[in-house]
Symmetry: C2
Subunit: 490 residues, 2 copies
């Protein structure tokens, strides 16, 4: 087929140039590709009613550009496509419209109190290997490999919902969605309930991964202060009255970063306020398995006979963080909509891990592991509290968690935990400064100590080093203060 | 400690009622919890400077409400907390603010052409069981269980990036992010580049999971028409000129739902237009492994010497859809920001599947499986095309894919593929009507046939049934047409 060229004798552009330009254009538009044969010069000249020499000149021009090649006796062929126009994209500019939020840097150090994760050396690796071998031999493997349901792997959903119902933490009107960890639970809830500037109350300080989901999603985020004694319930009541929030996220057990918990009374109070003001309560129940004394009090979800509370749980903190399986339990209508959002986000949660964790739980290995984690966690918590008591300088205060992975230290003002981190790292110890967890109140003198990943001896040594660093800093500051009142300027 | 009560003698409320009300309030606020002991009546009466009988009356009132219980000789204890206020949340109203988008219903039928997924009976189950056993015995398992990096499992990232570099589909300035399938790749790109009303061009018709991510994310979505011959490149040029989009998503190989592909020339042309207008090209290269003849042409990413094209790939379509592992390759700065978004979304992709798929690929089992899938896919494609040729009624046209899972049928107007689906299902055959895939152009007479999950005999039978259903419908419509021109009304 002859190319569709239109020559214009009225312009100043020579005809051979017009032919070359239009052929080049056809190449750019994908109508002529490398290897395609151009019409013989004689044929094209007859078709266009021009001199054959004109077509030959056009082909020579294209050949000099390297776009076509003529083979004697075989004709002319497209050799390569014209160079692409335009400069590289300006990625700096393209990406500037989105505000980057700083991610907490996991400070590497010999003794790191920076990461709230379970101790890898406590992982029941042999038990998990056995689980994987069982999965490899199981009949259900074929189904696991095939496309799954957005709501999650059905046997796991049944198992978890049944468990929650036995604990009265789920009713008949509740349903369950399996998510890629609790982090995705936050994200989906933001999308469904707080994507249009809705007001959301979160604890302050709080795990930044929770805050950032809502901030980035465009919610109006209000912090409810968490002190050394835990969430300030009276403040929550005032915030509900004043701000009329759509939802509140709360971590009733061993809150990250403070390690504080809500009493039964406070849970009840929170539910009372939420009902009075029509606030959706989202209960982040990530750590309740990690109680180092008595079991944690009943979840708010259990107190809520209306069934409106939304409960988030996960395997990640009690089992293996590398396997991303969490879940959301809530009213059926809400879970249905959340499942839709899940489908558009990533279709469904990975089924291999869902099936592996179900086997791990059903075999009793998970519970055995949890018991071990609790026994070891208690030793570590005691070591951390004893070391704080013994080594932290005068004026330092700290929380006394009864479970979880973290405690919160508040140094005497005006200590600066960010500046002090550099000095601590120079001595091989790291932590996360309080400011990483701030919503509205920057606690410059505070820091999070994540003790769960270190053995008692290292905890003791690490906190001793921190105590020395903090004390030295306080001494320097005292030395700088004038001895007595400054003399009057006369 | 005595409760902090304030009595007011000037009001009409009797003192005993004031005491009872304030104690109830303390219970509601969490300051008195079940099991807590109330002060002895004598102590409280002295403290409040009231008659002891007044306190006794208050306690009796609370006891009659069931809130406290008095035990002779032991005192009074909080029995249960006051009833919670407020009605159930109105979830219908809460969720109404978010528009629900209908999810395509996977029509269940004896022969279902509705789901674009690989045939489960072709899964190399034994090979995957062997891979799992190897993983269960591997040294790296401990690391897989621990918290991972947002960018993905390092050995898998290295492997995939190296592969892409060997194919010239990644340069030195490119980086890689592992996602929970390609669906999450779409989602993260929407968040990073199109969360503020940016204009996004997608193919029309298109896989609804892609469209919905951008529509829900608030992007301005423009469809570029895909006809029976594939994407209309000239239209794309006009859309770029007119709409100045931020990005375009394109599926160059075996597009879902049409099964059409872009020629080398069209890929080049698309890149030319994108550069000219500063459009970010996102290449959804999900199906290129499923070529049933020659390998698919080079990806656009390879043609793009500037390295700006963003390439999405996945294991889900060529291996196991139940394992959610995809990846994005693009300029380092862009991937860095995408990785941040990934971290806030779900921390990182599940590591068990990442490690299992890496082992599956490195062992050569994936490539062996792909060869089998291609050989079988060719048989199925041929069966589908032959059956369409043979059984579809006059006037029906269809695409002729050279790979993938889908072909697109366009019946003669005014057929309605949604209404026809009911008739087809009554005869045990299902498909997805064209309207599910519409962006702006509703093709009421079109439908998608996903042939990859069925063996040739069932494909033949199913398309024969469809042909009969469609032909019967056309015959009914013809019979309803008047035989000649209608007589003039006089």
């Amino acid at each position: 087929m002859l190319p569709d060229l239109t020559l214009d004798e009225s312009t100043a552009t020579p005809l051979y140039r017009q032919i070359a330009d239009q052929l080049r254009h056809l190449m750019q538009r994908g109508h002529l590709a490398p290897g395609d044969r151009l019409p013989p010069t004689r044929t094209l000249s007859l078709h266009l009613k021009v001199n054959r020499a004109t077509v030959i000149a056009a082909y020579e021009a294209l050949e000099s550009e390297g776009l076509i090649r003529s083979h004697v006796g075989r004709g002319s062929f497209v050799e390569r496509l014209p160079a692409l126009p335009g400069p590289k994209l300006n990625w700096e500019e393209i990406l500037a419209s989105e505000e980057g939020l700083p991610a907490p840097v996991a400070a590497e150090a010999e003794i790191s109190f920076a990461l709230a994760r379970p101790a890898g050396d406590l992982f029941p690796e042999e038990d998990f290997r056995a689980t994987l071998r069982e999965l490899a031999a199981s009949r259900e493997l074929g189904g696991i490999l095939q496309l799954g349901a957005p709501a999650g792997y059905a046997p796991l959903r049944r198992y978890l919902l049944q468990n929650a119902r036995e604990q009265n933490a789920a009713g008949d009107d509740d349903d369950i969605l399996i998510t890629s960890g609790v982090q995705q639970g936050f994200d989906l809830i933001q999308r469904l309930l707080a994507s249009r500037g809705e007001t959301v109350v979160i604890e302050d300080p709080v795990y930044p991964g929770l805050k950032n989901v809502f901030v980035r999603g465009g919610a109006r985020v209000i912090g409810a202060p968490v002190g050394l004694g835990g969430l300030d319930i009276d403040q929550v009541e005032r915030i509900f009255e004043r701000e009329r929030p759509r939802l509140m996220l709360v971590t009733p057990n061993y809150q990250n970063p403070t390690g504080t918990s809500l009493s039964v009374g406070s849970r009840h109070a929170l539910l009372t306020f939420a009902r009075r003001h029509g606030v959706v309560l989202v209960e982040n129940d990530l750590y309740s398995g990690l109680h180092y004394g008595d079991a944690a009090p009943a979840p708010i979800k259990k107190l809520d006979q209306n069934g409106d509370t939304v409960l988030l749980r996960s395997f990640s903190k009690i089992a293996f963080p590398g396997l991303r399986v969490g879940w959301v339990i809530g009213p059926r209508h809400f879970i249905g909509r959340l499942t839709e959002a899940k489908q558009w986000t990533d279709l469904h949660t990975d089924q291999l891990s869902q099936a592996a964790l179900l086997k791990f739980a059903q075999s009793g290995r998970l519970e055995a592991h949890c018991e071990k984690m609790r026994a070891e966690g208690l030793r570590r918590l005691r070591a951390a509290l004893a070391a704080c008591e013994r080594y932290l300088p005068k004026g330092a205060r700290f929380t006394r968690p009864s479970g979880g992975m973290n405690l919160w230290v508040r140094l005497a003002d005006p200590a600066d935990s960010t500046a002090l981190l550099e000095k601590a790292r120079a001595r091989g110890v790291s932590y996360l400064p309080g400011k990483y967890f701030a919503v509205a109140r920057e606690e410059a003198a505070s820091l999070r100590i994540s003790f769960a990943g270190l053995d008692p001896a290292r905890i003791d040594h690490g906190i001793r080093v921190l105590g020395e660093v903090f004390a030295a800093d306080a001494a320097v500051r005292r030395a700088r203060e004038p001895e007595g009142p400054a003399p009057a300027l006369v």
